[in-house]
């Protein structure tokens, strides 16, 4: 990156860039070659050359700094979305063999997934496990976060340290003893048995984010509540909690996505359709027969389980970013 890419005025005056017309032409021709080339299965080098044309054209059109920024942004978006788009492509026609576009556009693999009982059960298990783990973590974590964020709790520093320590735990360190304990208690291969570790490992995230939200509320609010005769618990329940609702909601989204993703406990503590969740089910599918992996159906299943999350990201993008950066962790 050169000095010109940062902290420069956004665009130079048009008079200093005489080749705008030629630039536009180059962009057009380059883009045309790239689209036609990839559709026609042209060699990779030709497509690369087309991109170079577009880049050179852009530099002449909008100036080097802007051109680099916009190329960077396009590359960023393409990079982030590509694996997802590739799964969509494989779900229609798994025999890729070097071709960028599928030879047929069919949704039959999606139908197969919907008719697969194991997958459908795993989907509902995931919703129940992630949903209830999130709800429980919000209640327990929200109370703890309020206490740690605003109340004079004895040993607060030690408790915060313990919470942080749990977030650093490798899951593998506890999975053996929990396996044994759950077998004894009859929690093995149950949804409850998955919810409990998920709640525990979500608590640090939930407490950390929510306590930072609680701390931001002005101190005067409690004093006003006390003046009106409220007890500390009433102040929490009736004044502070409603005000911190956006923070609670944000952490709920993050915790839900984390628990939806959880894998180690899911494959260690479940055995049958009673409790197997989506990530575990997908990994079991591909493990059944290593020689003939059903790439099409698994891709379709992966795309399907991605859709709720992509939807959440679309709707709650601002909140998610606020939550991620407010917590400063994970």
């Amino acid at each position: 990156m050169t000095a010109a890419t940062i902290h420069q005025p956004a665009m130079l005056p048009e008079t200093t860039r005489p080749n705008i017309g030629r630039g536009k032409l180059l962009v057009g021709v380059g883009a045309g070659i790239a689209v036609v080339g990839s559709l026609a299965g042209m060699g990779a080098l030709a497509v690369l050359a087309a991109f170079v044309l577009v880049l050179v054209g852009l530099i002449e059109w909008v100036g080097a700094s802007e051109a680099l920024t916009w190329t960077g942004i396009a590359a960023l978006i393409g990079y982030c979305l590509f694996p997802f788009l590739w799964l969509v492509r494989l779900s229609m026609d798994p025999a890729a063999n070097g071709k960028l576009l599928p030879s047929t556009f069919t949704l039959s693999n999606y139908g197969a997934v919907f008719h697969n009982d194991e997958f459908v059960r795993a989907f509902f298990n995931s919703i129940i496990v992630a949903g209830s783990a999130t709800a429980v973590a919000m209640v327990i974590g929200g109370c703890a976060a309020y206490a740690l964020g605003r109340l004079p709790v004895p040993g607060k520093d030690f408790i915060m340290f313990a919470v942080l320590a749990v977030s650093m735990f490798p899951g593998i360190a506890i999975v053996g003893p929990i396996y044994e304990l759950w077998r004894t208690l009859g929690l093995f291969d149950t949804k409850t048995g998955l919810v409990l570790p998920n709640v525990t490992f979500s608590l640090p995230l939930a407490i950390w984010i929510m306590s930072s939200f609680f701390r931001e509320l002005p101190r005067d609010l409690e004093h006003a509540a006390y003046m009106d005769g409220a007890t500390p618990f009433q102040a929490f329940r009736k004044v502070m909690l409603p005000l911190a609702a956006p923070g609670v909601f944000t952490s709920a989204i993050l915790v839900f996505i984390n628990t939806w993703n959880e894998f180690l406990m899911a494959i260690s503590l479940s055995a049958t359709g009673r409790s197997v969740t989506i990530p575990a089910a997908i990994s079991f599918f591909q493990g059944e027969n290593t020689l003939e992996i059903p790439v099409g159906p698994i891709s379709a299943a992966s795309v399907l389980v991605m859709l709720p999350l992509v939807g959440m990201v679309l709707v709650f993008q601002r909140r998610i970013v606020a939550g991620l950066t407010a917590g400063g962790v994970k």
Partner: protein, 325 residues
């Protein structure tokens, strides 16, 4: 409040606070602290769930067996190489992404934000599968095959140890670099633009501004993100489990422990491996917090401290990070 919870209204702030943290503490004690202590205890025993009668205290024998086994050290090697490589690549790429995003995206802001959040929200198992296929010649595209051909015979990236680890670093980078970029971006946006203007007036080059102004200001955010990413990389399990299943010596320490704990049900050796994994993670966390001073308190926002930091541009950690970025 009426009913059984009425007593809550009679508590003062101190007692209420204590009561509100108790459920979280109890849960963490039962599901995190007790199992870890139990794991340490079990690791000192010969104990296979399938042969419950053959249970005996054997001291550190399990550890002795593990520490002389080449399988264990291969897994340690895989884990450490993967950890160091992925953290470096993720930060370098995350920093570039953050700098691009910081340039003011105008109408594209929302789109970029969604795109960047997609990898973060993708289930790791799905990430692993998608990249596994992108790295498999029959399921990928022409350009990728040529690219892989540079490193592996017949473009088979997942057929050798080091190329497999490289593929895992690729996949992990895709999943986490955008997230790191978001953290760094929040830090970048809190830097006062007047400081850059002053640096411009002084004739400082872009590189000088980056190393003396940007990096020091980002130091708290970088250290915290670095700490958590390193810990994540050291306990990495799902990505390798799905992408390579541990073939070609690509098992991580977590995978090896899982193998003994859940597949062989050899709790003695398995918990010993898990305890060693835990120690590795603990040591790294300790180094970060004590030596480098990483404290997870979110992105630093107070201007006075930031200015002080900007003046102390050449602290030890800053140079270490600068050399990598």
């Amino acid at each position: 409040m009426r009913g059984p919870l009425a007593f809550l209204d009679r508590l003062d702030e101190r007692r209420l606070g204590l009561l509100l943290v108790v459920p979280a503490l109890v849960l963490m004690a039962i599901v995190a602290a007790y199992p870890v202590l139990n794991a340490i205890w079990l690791s000192l025993h010969r104990y296979n769930v399938k042969i419950p009668d053959d249970y005996a205290f054997i001291g550190f024998d399990n550890y002795a067996r593990i520490l002389v086994s080449s399988t264990w050290w291969t897994a340690v090697g895989t884990t450490v190489v993967f950890g160091i490589a992925s953290v470096i690549v993720e930060f370098a790429l995350g920093m570039v992404m953050a700098l691009v995003m910081n340039k003011g995206l105008g109408s594209a802001t929302g789109m970029v934000r969604v795109a960047v959040l997609v990898p973060w929200a993708t289930i790791t198992v799905v990430t692993a599968l998608a990249w596994k296929w992108i790295f498999t010649p029959t399921f990928t595209f022409d350009l990728m095959n040529r690219f892989m051909g540079l490193f592996a015979d017949e473009s088979c990236m997942l057929c050798g140890r080091w190329t497999s680890i490289a593929a895992m670093v690729f996949a992990d980078t895709w999943k986490t670099a955008p997230f790191i970029a978001l953290l760094l971006l929040a830090g970048l946006q809190s830097i006062d633009s007047e400081m850059y203007e002053a640096a411009d007036v002084d004739g400082a080059s872009w590189w000088t501004q980056f190393t003396r102004l940007t990096l020091p200001a980002l130091k708290p955010a970088i250290l915290v993100a670095l700490l958590f990413r390193s810990l994540d990389a050291l306990r990495m399990f799902d990505l390798a489990y799905v992408m390579t299943s541990g073939q070609n010596d690509t098992s991580t320490v977590s995978m090896l422990s899982y193998d003994y704990l859940i597949k062989r049900l050899d709790m003695g050796v398995g918990t010993a491996m898990a305890v060693l994994t835990f120690l590795m993670v603990f040591i790294v966390a300790f180094v970060f917090v004590k030596v480098l001073g990483a404290a997870p308190e979110g992105v630093e926002k107070k201007p006075s401290r930031r200015e002080r930091r900007a003046q102390h541009a050449r602290g030890t950690t800053t140079t270490a990070i600068a050399s990598m970025a």
